[in-house]
Symmetry: C2
Subunit: 358 residues, 2 copies
C-alpha cells in the first residue's frame, strides 16, 4: 500500500494557481514527478500519463504494464487502460478540453507538448514546473527516512569497498564491485553512474571509470549514490592509497575537510546558497598560502530527493533562502591538473537548529 | 581519437531541409544524439550544448567538465568554455540569430525551447527529430560492431548467471549479480534496469526485481542489456527451474521459441513491421488449440542502437518498410496471469539476404 498523495497534490496546486488539471507525460524516461506522486517501485511506464486534479488522479497505461500498475495498489490513483475502444481518450477529453492545463516544462518534450495541443482543446496550457520544484524542495518525514535509507547503503558500501583497494585493480572493476555491494545491500539501482578516479584522474570531477590501474601513491575518489524506494543518496569519499605519509596529498585532503566543516557550520535557515558556497570557496582560495586558488571548480552542493539534482543548492548567485526540511549535499573539492583531486560529499538536512549530516 | 562525424552530420542535414544550424541541449540527461555525434565515453555534460552546421560542430560546456571534454580529443568538435566573459554567448548569437534553427523536439524540454526563443532571435525554429531518427535507423559497420560487442557481453552474462540459479536466491540478488558480471565483462552500464522475474512474476513483462525467492518449478525470466561505447544490447532469456519435466511450462516455452523463429524467417527488406509482428502473433494465438489467445501483449520488437528504443519496430500499425542496416529486437512472449510467462529476445540485423541474429 502506497502512502497518501493528497498532501503532495495540495502542495503542488497551492503553487500552481489558475490550474484545473495537471498532465505528466513519461516521454523517453519517467518524469521524476511521476515517481514523486505515485511512488511506484516496479514498472517502467513508458509513454504513460499521470493526470490529476485537486481531487482525483489517473494513471493511463498500456496493456503491457496494466497489471504492474494495478499490483502496486495505490489507494488514490485510478489505473486506466489505453484500449482500442478509446475509453482513455474520452477521459482525457473530459479532463483537458476547456480546462487550464498545467504541464511540467522542465521535463515534457516539445513533441509531447505539441501533441497535447493538437489532440485536445485546453483553454490554456501553463508550465507549472516551479510548483513541482517547490513542493519537492521541503521533504516530509517519510521522505527524509527514505533518503536516510539510501545514504545508509552508500555509506556501508564505502566501508566495504575498501577491502578491494589493491594495486592493479582498475577503476572499472572497482566501480562494478561498488555497484554490486550497493545492490546487495538493497539499492534499487545507483542514483547516477558511479564515479571512480585513481591518481590524476581525480582532477576531473566527472571522470568516468576506465581501465586505469590503481597504484601506490594514488588518490582514490569514489562519488556514488543509491536509489531506494525512488529516493537518492549522493556521497563522495576520497582515500589516499599510499604506503607512506604524503604531505602534499594530506594537505589537499585536510583543506577540503576543513572547508566542509566550515560550510556545514555556516548553514542555517534564512542564509542564501551563495553565502554557504562562499564560506567553503573563500577558505579553499586562501588556504595554504593561496596555492589552491581557482581549484574548486564547481558548486558546493545541490538539493537531493527523487532526483540527484533536485532544485536549489549552494553556488555563486544562488539567492534562494534556506528553509528547514531541505536536503542538500555539501561537497567541497580541490582539483589539480596532472596531480589529482579530493572531494568529500555528505548529504545534509537543514533544520531550524542548523545542519544535520544524514 | 573519435571517429569522424562528417557523414553523420551530412545524413542529418539531408533529412533536415531548410535548416542552417542544429542545437542540442542536454537538459536533465544527455540527448541521445549527443552521444551519437560526439561518441564521448566519459563525462556527464549536464546542460551542455552541441551546436552544429553542415561544416562545424561546437560543444559548449562548463568549467566542471571542460577538461573531460578536451581529453576526448574529438577531431571535429570545438570545445567552448561557458565563461564569465560570455564568449560562448557571442558564438551562439552568431550561430543562431537570423538562422533557421533545428531542435530535437523528441528530447528538448518545453523550458529549454522557450529559453532559446527568448535569448536568441532565430529566423525560425524547426523540430528536426525525424532527421535524427532517420540518420540513426540505418547502422554503419562501426555501429554494428559496437552493438555486437554489447550483445557479446550480455550473452556471456546470461551463461555465467546460471551458476547462481539456486533455491532461495532473490530476484534482486540475481539482478545485482547479473549487472556485476556484465560490468566485469566490460559493460559501461546496463542499457536499462535489469529485469529478473521468478515464477508468476514472469507474467508481468516489466516486473522489477524484488525480494521474491527462487523455488523449484519457477520460470526464471531475465531481460537485460549492456551499454558499451554508448551502444546498447537487449536480450531476454527464460529458464525453466524445475527438477522434473513440466509439460505445461515446456509448451509455453516451445510456442514462444517457434514464434521467434517464424518471425525471424519472415523478416526481409521491404516488409513492414506490422507484417512481422503478425507472423509471431498469429502463431501464438492459434498454437496449442488457441489457449494462448490474447497472451502476447506487447510489440514483437523495437530498433536498437544508441538508445534501447531507437525508432521503428514490429507492431500492429507499423507501416515503415524494413531496410538493410536496421537493427531490431525480436521478442515474442506469452504471459499467463498467476502462472508465469516466457519471453525470448534477440537482436537482429536486417540485410538484403534477410535477418541475421547478432
Amino acid at each position: 500500500m502506497k502512502s497518501s498523495i493528497r498532501h503532495k497534490i495540495a502542495k503542488i496546486f497551492a503553487n500552481a494557481k489558475n490550474t484545473d488539471v495537471i498532465v505528466l507525460v513519461n516521454n523517453n524516461s519517467q518524469d521524476p514527478n511521476f515517481a514523486y506522486l505515485a511512488g511506484y517501485t516496479s514498472g517502467v511506464f513508458e509513454y504513460d500519463l499521470l493526470v490529476f486534479t485537486k481531487t482525483r488522479a489517473y494513471h493511463i497505461t498500456s496493456q503491457l504494464e496494466y497489471q504492474t500498475a494495478l499490483l502496486q495498489k495505490h489507494p488514490e490513483i485510478k489505473i486506466v487502460l489505453r484500449n482500442k475502444e478509446g475509453d482513455h481518450k474520452k477521459l482525457l477529453k473530459r479532463l483537458i478540453n476547456g480546462k487550464r492545463v498545467g504541464i511540467n516544462g522542465s521535463f515534457l518534450t516539445v513533441e509531447s507538448y505539441q501533441a497535447i495541443k493538437k489532440k485536445y482543446t485546453a483553454k490554456k496550457m501553463v508550465d507549472v514546473s516551479e510548483a513541482f520544484a517547490k513542493a519537492r524542495l521541503i521533504k516530509d518525514s517519510q521522505e527524509i527516512e527514505e533518503i536516510k535509507g539510501a545514504i545508509r547503503i552508500t555509506k556501508w558500501a564505502m566501508l566495504q569497498i575498501q577491502q578491494d583497494f589493491k594495486e592493479g585493480i582498475t577503476e572499472r572493476q572497482l566501480a562494478a564491485k561498488f555497484d554490486y555491494i550497493s545492490s546487495s545491500l538493497g539499492a534499487q539501482k545507483p542514483s547516477f553512474d558511479t564515479i571512480v578516479c585513481f591518481g590524476k584522474n581525480a582532477a576531473l570531477p566527472h571522470h568516468m571509470p576506465d581501465e586505469t590501474k590503481l597504484k601506490a601513491g594514488d588518490f582514490i575518489l569514489i562519488d556514488a549514490g543509491s536509489k531506494v524506494n525512488n529516493y537518492c543518496s549522493d556521497l563522495t569519499r576520497t582515500f589516499l592509497f599510499t604506503k607512506e605519509k604524503n604531505k602534499e596529498m594530506e594537505e589537499v585532503y585536510n583543506t577540503v575537510k576543513e572547508a566542509r566543516i566550515r560550510a556545514i557550520h555556516a548553514i542555517k535557515v534564512g542564509a542564501t546558497g551563495e553565502e554557504i558556497h562562499k564560506v567553503a570557496n573563500d577558505y579553499i582560495e586562501s588556504a595554504n598560502g593561496g596555492i589552491y586558488k581557482g581549484k574548486f571548480i564547481h558548486a558546493l552542493g545541490h538539493s537531493l530527493g527523487i532526483e540527484v539534482h533536485d532544485g536549489v543548492g549552494f553556488w555563486p548567485g544562488a539567492s534562494q533562502r534556506l528553509e528547514a526540511g531541505m536536503v542538500i549535499t555539501v561537497e567541497p573539492g580541490i582539483y589539480i591538473e596532472g596531480f589529482g583531486g579530493v572531494r568529500i560529499e555528505d548529504d545534509i538536512l537543514i533544520t531550524k537548529d542548523g545542519a544535520i549530516i544524514l
